[in-house]
């Protein structure tokens, strides 16, 4: 009976959705409504799943399931010897999507690429401000320091674009694979501007990606169809549907009931149920994040590496992680970057639990009291700062160090925490943006980040030289070596206690193939297929 019903439903779906025979529909239960469909203007992972990763493509792309860069709309590129000029050669004959609201008359060309970036910083561009949408902030473009590094974008010919930088910056390539760097259609923008319907650019997207937008019912359902002209070949799925389901338990029940095929972020409490079910598979991966605790390395006795090592050794990290993350689990951190990121140094080991050794060092150093900071916010890399603080407090008490827990509300917490004179140990973490190691090392521990996001106020000359050199080197093999060395220094100097990389999960029905967890935290549906 149930089979007949499913069949009837499938038949019906086929007849309603455009009358195609045996249309394959993949339903993804997404966790939140997208703010809009213009990835330059949004910041949330769910926004990007619904826009940049479905509708759009970029000059370069992240390898499916990894953080390495591979060709996208640009087939190849050259970087000048001084690392200042990037020349991209576009794939010929790439078509923008044809929908009931836009019919392209030309293929993708250099104008589209220049426009896609120009609109994000050029105040003279009509798409930069109020005329397009109110209160535009272009958060990612500014957040990734693009205005500082980009000198200009130029069209060389229809299929060649030149990017000139103000100074060498190897992570630039990874930045161009990010969602905000999605390539939009200038022809579509011009048409909307002429028609006085500029706001439609953010609600009816046109891109060159694997799926094209069909319809969005606010806060409820987004519908896409496979892009028949996709330059990497039409997808096997005919229709892609996002069923917006914010409650984690309801989301998982929907996958179990077969109402959707894929759902992200299950509740830790539901993981056992999911694992026991034969119709679905639980996918997991260490997230592109790190939870850590910064010691202020400028205030004695925390200025001595051996004291910091001793504090690390005094913490029973395994029990701490178990207690914090429970069934959801987390990967204990060996390095600042997660194991899914290139250049992760497998030979570096984090301090092991050894309270006896720690006790002696701490007694010799005369460390009796310390401040231990905690906030109220749940973060992916640390679900409970307060609980963590209490457990660490108990561990430190065993080695004769009395920790006083300092609490602040989240925004105030970070304001106070980043001050150079802030004492003690400060719990914090980071979720990566672009899969480039620089996004972790330089953002969190560069000398220039002191007072901004270097909560350890740690400035080590050797470490700094390595990461600055890696930033300016375009060869990835060479960069890998530099970052591997940087990780050795980091481990030796121990400016922070490294907690863990939290695990991220997705639940997938067994008849779905080709879906992969992504270290960047995005959900991609290109290459996904579904057996009937």
């Amino acid at each position: 009976m149930k089979k007949t019903l499913t069949f009837a439903a499938a038949l019906l779906a086929a007849s309603v959705l455009g009358g195609m025979a045996n249309a394959k529909t993949l339903v993804y239960c997404s966790e939140a409504s997208p703010a809009n469909f213009d990835p330059g203007t949004t910041t949330g992972g769910n926004d990007f799943d619904a826009s940049s990763r479905t509708v759009y493509s970029r000059l370069v792309e992240f390898k499916h399931g990894g953080t390495e860069i591979e060709p996208g709309l640009a087939d190849k590129w050259e970087i000048s010897d001084d690392g200042l000029v990037y020349t991209f050669h576009l794939h010929p004959g790439v078509k923008f999507q044809t929908t009931d609201y836009f019919k392209p008359t030309r293929d993708l060309n250099a104008d589209d690429v220049v426009f896609s970036f120009d609109r994000q910083f050029n105040k003279q561009n009509p798409w930069n401000g109020e005329k397009y949408l109110p209160n535009l902030t272009w958060d990612y473009y500014t957040g990734m320091d693009m205005p500082k590094y980009v000198a200009k974008w130029e069209k060389v010919d229809d299929l060649t674009v030149k990017l000139t930088l103000t100074e060498p910056n190897a992570p630039m390539l990874a930045n161009l694979g990010m969602d905000f760097a999605s390539i939009v259609s200038k022809e579509y923008a011009d048409q909307l501007e002429k028609d006085g319907k500029m706001a439609d650019f953010s609600t009816k997207p046109i891109g060159t990606g694997p799926f094209q937008f069909v319809d969005y019912q606010l806060d409820s359902v987004i519908r896409y169809a496979a892009n028949p002209d996709y330059f990497k070949g039409k997808e096997k799925i005919d229709d892609l549907v996002f069923a917006i389901t914010p409650d984690a338990t309801a989301r998982i029940q929907k996958v179990l009931a077969g109402e959707c095929d894929i759902a992200p972020y299950p509740n830790p409490a539901d993981i056992a149920t999911i694992k026991a079910n034969k119709d679905v598979t639980l996918l997991d991966q260490a997230g592109l994040n790190i939870g850590y605790m910064s010691y202020n390395t400028t205030i004695p006795p925390l200025d001595k590496p051996e004291v910091r090592h001793a504090l690390n050794q005094a913490i029973d990290r395994e029990s701490l992680i178990k207690s914090l993350f429970q069934d959801a689990g987390a990967t204990p951190a060996q390095n600042l970057i997660p194991p899914t990121m290139w250049s992760w140094n497998k030979d570096v080991k984090f301090d092991s639990y050894d309270p006896e050794a720690a006790k002696k060092v701490l007694a010799d150093a005369g460390l009796k009291e310390i401040q231990l900071w905690a906030s109220d916010r749940v973060r992916p890399y640390n679900p409970n700062f307060q609980r963590a603080a209490e457990l660490i407090q108990a561990d430190w008490a065993k080695v004769g160090v009395k920790a006083e827990i300092v609490n602040y509300e989240w925004t105030k917490y970070r304001e106070e925490g980043k001050k150079k004179e802030r004492p003690g140990a400060f719990q914090i973490g980071w979720t990566g943006d672009n899969g480039d190691p620089d996004n972790f090392f330089a953002t969190l521990f560069a000398c220039s980040a002191i007072g901004v996001s270097n909560y350890s106020s740690w400035c080590d000359k050797d470490f700094e030289d390595l990461i600055q050199k890696a930033k300016k080197t375009s060869d990835q093999g060479e960069r890998t070596k530099l970052y591997e060395q940087a990780q050795e220094i980091f481990a030796k100097q121990a400016p922070a206690f490294l907690l863990a990389h939290s695990q991220v999960y997705a639940v997938v029905r067994n008849n779905v193939s080709g879906f992969m967890m992504d270290p960047l935290g995005i959900h991609r549906f290109d290459g996904v297929d579904k057996a009937e």
Binding site: K2, A9, A10, L12, A13, V16, L17, T25, V27, A32, S33, A35, N36, T41, T42, T43, G44, L133, P134, N135, L136, T137, D139, T142, G143, A199, S202, T203, D215, Q217, L218, D219, S220, V221, R223, V241, A243, I244, T245, P246, D247, T249, A250, Q253, K254, L256, A257, E259, E409, W410, T411, K412, R414, E415, K418, W430, T431, V452, S453
Partner: protein
Amino acid sequence: MLRYLLNKIALLVPTLVGITICAFAFVRLLPGDPILAMAGEHGVTPARYEQLKEQFGYNLPIWEQYARYVGEVATGDFGVSISSKRPVLQEFKTLFPATLELSFFAMIFAMVLGIPAGIFAAVKRGSWFDQSLMGTALVGYSMPIFWWGLLLIIFFSGYLGWTPVSGRIGLQFFLRPITGFMTIDSILYGKWDALRSAFSHLVLPAIVLGTIPLAVIARQTRSAMLEVLGEDYVRTARAKGLSSARVIGVHALRNALIPVVTTIGLQVGTLLAGAILTETIFAWPGIGKWMVDSIFKRDYVVVQSGLLLIALIVMAVNLIVDVLYAVINPRIRAA
């Protein structure tokens, strides 16, 4: 009657001012600076902070910000969402029919079960039925909506597979909204299977949202009925030899229903508050879920204006109830 109405409307003015102050203050009293909260882990440079502060008008003195806000609201400008960049009023109009539809069916559920149950309990006062009903009503009234909703989903959708887990209609139905009410739109499109799907999606959320009103209505009907059953005219009616059904159904019920109607009207506030949780659990695209999403996104403009719009609706309904009450009960008008 006109004087009564004007009086009621005049009383709304201070309430309205109070609500604008609350909605305005709520956003500013939330811990943390809204701009820093928006910026996330990246933080903002001091220069950019000042720039954003000016862009969002947070650099003005607080009274000026309030005056500006009231001025905008008075002209029907409820602002533009920080995250989606769409006008708040436009989003509200799109989503409100879903909430209204759900609330309507929740209320139908509560009344259809609550009124007869209350009558029956009153007639059989002190019986096991009465006692267990009142006990159940108390449980229903104290039931946490979140837990109750998940429980029903896990049992009826997960275990038995009778009802869909969440959403408003089966995904195979692709109806562009006409009225925004899924049941009515299905009829307008002439798609009967879509109508059936819409109803099957309504069952669980309507039960969850209707549970508290059901408990309130059942208890209120019972006590009103008990009061009326002791009145002289009921005794007279019985003495005339009328059938028990006629005495209860016609003579007693009509009078007992007056306070029940008021109770039902006052449940609108409860329904909208309950909708916030119910819609979130059942992925129901209404204003309750919209408010929750906006709080998580730190979209202060939506939270502030959404609160105000919801308060306006509750006030309007209360006004209508007051008027209706005066219509069915003339004694009120004179007072």
